[in-house]
């Protein structure tokens, strides 16, 4: 990976250091969740994005509070990058009343409408048409916001993806289809599940630009997102961005990872880690020292420790709320 040292207009060098910190927050969040699952302290299931932090942070950096996202089941990073508080997310995973969903949604349904997060999604490809609808509102009401729909390589084989991208294209909607290609749909290697080199190539079939970026290089992610946001805001319609990345952990908590080698995992971890990449770039540029990097890392760890404390000290929801909120 090489550093272009070109930053989007709205991302200052100071902001870049914040993003570095945010990537650590995302990583520690999911590593902590992994630990609690292993200990049996959190129930249900979860999908971790350790290794993919640059996509969420890079996209989030280009969005304002008014912009919207629809997320995936592997969406903790997407939520944090859109402005969610780690404490209320952790509380949700612990099923507490202070959680984003008051303990009713869990890992796969974190939504924070106030920060434009229209919800993670337990259905692969489920959020893609919803993003199109949110973009339609922006256009019809002339609100000027853009909507980013995150989805994975696996979701690009769902009908909802194709229907939604086509619809957004013919209506010129301000939406960005952001594919986090982490190489595997659960156990299915993307190379065996699609017969093309790049998922971004599918954009051609819908008459929109398709861009491939190194998803572990936050600069590339940000620059491609900036262009897509600008294009959407100019009223020129959607863009499909494919970010090639890798999830270090298994699909979910019960994954033995028999479908890939430990060598492959180590190669990504050692040679292509997105946090190490940005850290090296920041130090080489002289924006932070090694000591400062460790300080930021430690602070991120503290953010998560505080989040855990908040969660554990939060009350469980009252059983009186069991039948609440089915209808508005």
């Amino acid at each position: 990976m090489t550093v272009a040292w070109k930053l989007p207009e709205m991302v200052t060098e100071e902001k870049l250091i914040e993003l570095y910190h945010q990537m650590w927050v995302i990583r520690f969040f999911d590593e902590k969740v992994d630990e609690f699952f292993a200990k049996g302290m959190i129930h249900g299931t979860t999908h971790l994005c350790v290794g993919q932090e640059a996509t969420a942070a890079g996209v989030g950096a280009l969005l304002t509070k008014e912009d919207k996202i629809t997320g995936t089941h592997r969406g903790h990073g997407q939520c944090i990058a859109k402005g969610a508080e780690a404490s209320r997310m952790m509380a949700e995973l612990f099923g507490r009343a202070t959680g984003y969903c008051k303990g009713k949604g869990g890992s796969m349904h974190i939504a924070d409408l106030e920060t434009g997060n229209l919800g993670a999604n337990g259905i692969v490809g489920g959020g893609i048409p919803i993003a199109v609808g949110a973009a339609l509102t922006s256009k019809m009401k002339n609100l000027g916001y853009v909507t980013v729909s995150y989805f994975g390589d696996g979701a690009s084989n769902e009908g909802s993806f194709h229907e939604a991208v086509n619809m957004a294209s013919i209506w010129n909607l301000p939406v960005i289809f952001f594919c986090e290609n982490n190489q595997y749909g659960m156990s299915g290697p993307v190379k065996e599940m699609v017969n093309i080199e790049n998922i971004a190539d599918r954009a051609v079939g819908y008459g929109i630009p398709g861009v491939v970026v190194d998803g572990n290089n936050i600069f590339d992610v940000m620059l491609a997102t900036e262009e897509a946001v600008n294009r959407a805001k100019r009223g020129e319609g959607p863009t499909l961005i494919e970010a090639k990345t890798y999830r270090y952990k298994g699909h979910s908590k019960s994954d033995g990872k028999k479908y890939r080698t430990r060598e492959e995992e180590m190669d990504w971890r050692k040679n292509r880690d997105c946090i190490q990449f940005l850290e090296k770039a920041l130090i080489e540029k002289g924006l932070i020292t090694v000591e400062k990097a460790r300080e930021l890392e430690a602070d991120a760890k503290k953010v998560i420790e505080d989040a855990v404390e908040f969660a554990l000290n939060s009350p469980h929801p009252s059983m009186d709320t069991l039948e609440e909120d089915v209808y508005a």
């Binding site: 349904h109 939504a111 259905i123 009401k141 939604a164």
Partner: protein, 327 residues
């Protein structure tokens, strides 16, 4: 009062609302100059333009999903599903997304959308274009389900559906589109969850939905000649369901028959029968509750077979006589 058709009542309800509420718009297949497969939206694109009468590709999942997303962000979309059978393709968005968002997000947000869709047989369109699948959606917490049987009900219930902050599936019966009735010109709302006693009677209660309301009324008129007094109740909405009106009627008559066009096995009639059996009306029952519904077959094409697949007036008359004669 002036008379208009059921189809015109649906169109009028939408048009009147779209004139006063900028957030309401409609999207669906062929709903522009074509006017929709059954002509319900004819003339609307001329009045409201292509932004608010939005022709879509043949993409039911995206139509439903875009409706969910638009509804979550401040619009009040009406989506037209060309045939209710196509709900199979839109099901993820309706069942996993629209119905559950608010609950699983901890009470945040709302999804005010209406799914308008024609259902029912009698058109010779065979197995993939004639189903009555309302029990599927009625089974999902978070959705509301409406089945108007008259022009008057169609207009008032659609107004209530458009005003509702939840996803509402609004079933229009194809064979009723041309049925005329008295309909006020001004807007009015019929609350969801209020049944209508279409005919008062004392001997037997028939709970019927959609087109079966008319068949039940026909049967009731015949039976009156033989001295049997039939009460016909149209729930109008399956969710929420007005159980009170049904239970009250059964307590009065002591006998009940449930009639719907949908396949009997697993149909919504089973739910109505169970609610009666679990209620205080049980002690008043003088005969078993009977259900009439379609046979356990996909809808056939042949016109006589198509008729034989679903309850007809003579079937209802026979069921009433059997019930009255039960000892």
């Amino acid at each position: 009062m002036r008379e208009i058709t059921y189809l015109e009542a649906v169109r009028e309800a939408m048009s009147q609302e779209m004139r006063i509420n900028e957030d309401v718009f409609i999207m669906g297949e062929d709903i522009g100059v074509y006017g929709g497969a059954f002509g319900v939206t004819r003339g609307m694109i001329e009045e409201f333009g292509p932004e608010r009468v939005r022709i879509t590709p043949i993409s039911e999942a995206a139509i439903a999903g875009a409706s969910v997303g638009a509804a979550m962000t401040g619009m009040r979309p009406i989506m037209e599903l060309q045939f209710s059978d196509f709900i199979t393709i839109a099901m993820d968005q309706l069942v996993n997304q629209a119905a559950k968002n608010r609950y699983m997000f901890g009470g945040k947000g709302k999804v005010p959308m209406v799914v308008r869709t024609p259902s029912g047989s009698g058109t010779g369109a065979a197995a993939q274009h004639t189903q009555s699948l309302e029990a599927w959606v009625a089974h999902v917490p978070g959705l509301k389900v409406v089945q108007p049987s008259t022009a008057y009900d169609a207009k008032g219930l659609l107004k209530a559906a458009m005003d509702d902050d939840n996803p509402v599936v609004f079933y229009e019966h194809k064979l009723l589109y041309k049925a005329s009735g008295e309909v006020p010109e001004e807007q009015y709302s019929i609350p969801l969850g209020v049944a209508d006693v279409k005919r008062e009677g004392t001997d037997v209660t028939i709970v019927a939905t959609a087109i079966m309301v008319h068949k039940a009324l026909e049967a009731a008129a015949e039976l009156e000649k033989e001295g049997i007094s039939v009460e016909v109740i149209d729930p109008r909405t399956l969710v929420p369901l007005d159980t009170e009106t049904i239970i009250k009627s059964v307590k009065k008559t002591g006998k009940c028959i449930v009639v719907h066009e949908a396949v009997k096995f697993g149909g919504f009639g089973g739910e109505i029968a169970s609610i009666i059996a679990e209620s205080e009306a049980f002690d008043y029952l003088d005969a078993p509750i009977r259900r009439l519904g379609a046979l356990w077959i996909p809808m056939p094409y042949h016109p006589e077979m198509e008729k034989a697949a679903i309850p007809q007036v003579p079937d209802i008359i026979q069921a009433v006589k059997d019930t009255v004669a039960f000892r």
